[in-house]
């Protein structure tokens, strides 16, 4: 596979500690909602909020969302936020960020690659991270919502409730890693083909701020998504690109050119795998 293990950044807000763990078991969960649900099952007692990207994030068009999985009073929720957050998480080298514990005072997380600095909320967010390589998620009291890139919001109020309950107010993520492409010619060919398939998207072109890697500028991505197709959301593609990424042949080609050795059966059986983990969560 492209990577023998998923890399997970664990952040304990109560102890102000963090560590990175490589997890080979997570590889079969592909990414996004898949790894999020598995990590929730593995860390259920710590009441985590889990941010995840997928294997295609940062690489292919429309794979622009960040998956957030959490337990909301006994209901396992999967949310998706647009903007630049997913590409920045991808370029930290992490597949998931697991935030758990509760800070006694409001905090800002300043994440650069594997490094986490715990800052007070007085710190000017614009002074953190590297401009052009960072994504800023902050709580906007006027909008009563978290915002990514000053524009993209999560759906409903689940994330606000969970993160404010943990006293996490802001998160700045800077990704400075670059990845080489093993087969640039084939990769470029698939990229161009997918980018031209805008007629398969279920949104119209607009002039609104767009998520990273999406040419549409649609009006729908300002507010994120909740629930949906688990394969699309394991990648983590936009729900409006579901017709493209729910096609197993397309998904297989994208994964294969990046060096992942998932089989068609792995992908076909993936929804059942997720179902079993969810059943285990009760």
């Amino acid at each position: 596979m492209g990577s023998p293990a998923k890399k997970v950044l664990y952040i304990d807000l109560g102890k102000k500690t963090s560590h990175v763990k490589s997890d080979t078991e997570l590889q079969k969960f592909i990414g996004g909602v898949g790894t999020g649900i598995k990590l929730l099952a593995d860390n259920f007692d710590t009441d985590p909020v889990i941010f995840s990207v997928g294997p295609l994030s940062g690489y292919f068009p429309y794979c622009s969302k960040t998956s957030v999985v959490t337990n909301d009073n006994g209901v396992i929720e999967d949310l998706y936020i647009g903007g630049s957050l997913s590409s920045r998480i991808k370029f930290t080298g992490m597949d998931s960020i697991v935030v758990h514990g509760k800070s006694p005072v409001p905090l800002t997380l300043d994440i650069t690659d594997e490094s986490v600095v715990f800052r007070d909320t007085e710190t000017e967010l614009g002074s953190l991270g590297l401009p052009g390589k960072r994504s800023i998620m902050y709580y906007d009291a006027e909008e009563r919502s978290f915002l990514v890139d000053k524009y993209f919001a999560p759906p409903e109020s689940i994330l606000e409730k969970k993160l404010l309950g943990k006293n996490l107010r802001n998160m700045v993520v800077t990704g400075s890693k670059t990845y080489s492409i093993k087969n640039p010619e084939k990769y470029g060919e698939i990229f161009s083909k997918l980018l031209k398939q805008t007629d398969m998207l279920s949104v119209e072109k607009g002039t609104n701020p767009s998520c990273t890697g999406c040419p549409m500028g649609c009006h729908r991505s300002k507010i994120g998504e909740i629930g949906g197709n688990v394969l699309t959301h394991s990648l983590v593609a936009c729900t409006f690109a579901e017709r493209i990424y729910s096609d197993i042949g397309t998904t297989f080609s994208c994964l294969s050119v990046l060096g992942y050795d998932y089989t068609h059966e792995d992908i076909e059986n993936f929804p059942e795998l997720i179902k079993k983990v969810l059943e285990g969560l009760g």
Partner: protein, 90 residues
């Protein structure tokens, strides 16, 4: 006459960063470090309107700039003729 890439219509930018990805892809990598184009976002005069600004590294003119123009969905860039040795880009 040498050609150079110019940010002619920054007000059209929607922040998709496909131009950034294109420059990196031509250098056979994925990521943001060392990118020859950088896109910044901010709110206009503290309003709800998001505006984007684009910075070009002059070295961008050493790669295939036609492909950058082509990939931009809102036609932010143009190709200009370089008029003198010290012609500015961006």
């Amino acid at each position: 006459m040498a050609k150079f890439l110019k940010v002619s219509f920054p007000e059209n930018c929607i922040g998709c960063e496909l131009c950034v990805a294109e420059t990196q892809r031509q250098m056979q990598k994925v990521g943001l470090d060392g990118a020859l184009i950088r896109v910044f976002k901010d709110r206009k005069d503290n309003s709800d309107v998001i505006v984007f600004s684009i910075e070009l590294d002059p070295r961008v003119n050493s790669i295939d700039i036609e492909k950058i123009i082509e990939i931009c969905p809102t036609k932010v860039f143009t190709v200009e003729d370089k008029e003198d040795e010290n012609g500015l880009t961006g």
